[in-house]
Subunit: 116 residues, 2 copies
Amino acid sequence: MNLLPALEPATDEACCAPAGMPALGAEEAKQKAVVFKALADPNRLRLLSMVKAESSGESCVCDLTGPLELGQPTVSHHLKVLVDAGLLHREKRGTWAYYSLVPGALEQTAGLLATL
Amino acid sequence: MNLLPALEPATDEACCAPAGMPALGAEEAKQKAVVFKALADPNRLRLLSMVKAESSGESCVCDLTGPLELGQPTVSHHLKVLVDAGLLHREKRGTWAYYSLVPGALEQTAGLLATL
DNA sequence: CTCATACATTGATGATTGTCAATATTGGGG
DNA sequence: CCCCAATATTGACAATCATCAATGTATGAG
């Protein structure tokens, strides 16, 4: 009985293992990275935290601009990034714009980590 | 009987609510953003996925360079970012460097979202 | 000691991003 | 119709980042 092909299947060089396919496609990875890109800024994390902490469930820009030491256009820009990432929802009523967490969005994002 | 102070407590202007404090401190936010910054790149997500998919629990750089269409220095750089973020562990044995998931790191990161 | 291999580091470059000042837009009040 | 308040958009600029080519470092083989 030969004992040659016991350890390696057919690879000529060894190191650890063939490592298989990336397990996460390039397109899929780019998609998921968009959400984490939105979370990759301290001020955006604080915005999310403030919206989440609001008992009414929503906050207007005028309330979010103060606590952060940022100008109003910058806050608007960050909010847009969060909306584009699917984390916040925007509703305009009168002169004001109200932002609220998209239900389940944070949980779904947490799920992205589990299914890497 | 006056009916003035029925809706507002003492704020001179109204819109939604005083919004309280950021609920997430500036320093704390910066700290958490570091982890998400590390996740905010498609190729780093793929690297994590490949390391996680490895049955042995660890991968060497030589296995990770191929599937991604990146040069070896770039892969090394991405791995360093992931190590610095506390997501990957690096162990050098002989000529090879083996990367493995830090146990519980992904779960802990998911927890960051829950406690925003 | 010499050489080749596996990986890290450095320096440079183009692309992306966070921020602000200025301006535009939209809606309400007189 | 005109003005003001709240928000969004644009343009510009500095900073950060992803990538690569070149080089450095260490380890094992001969």
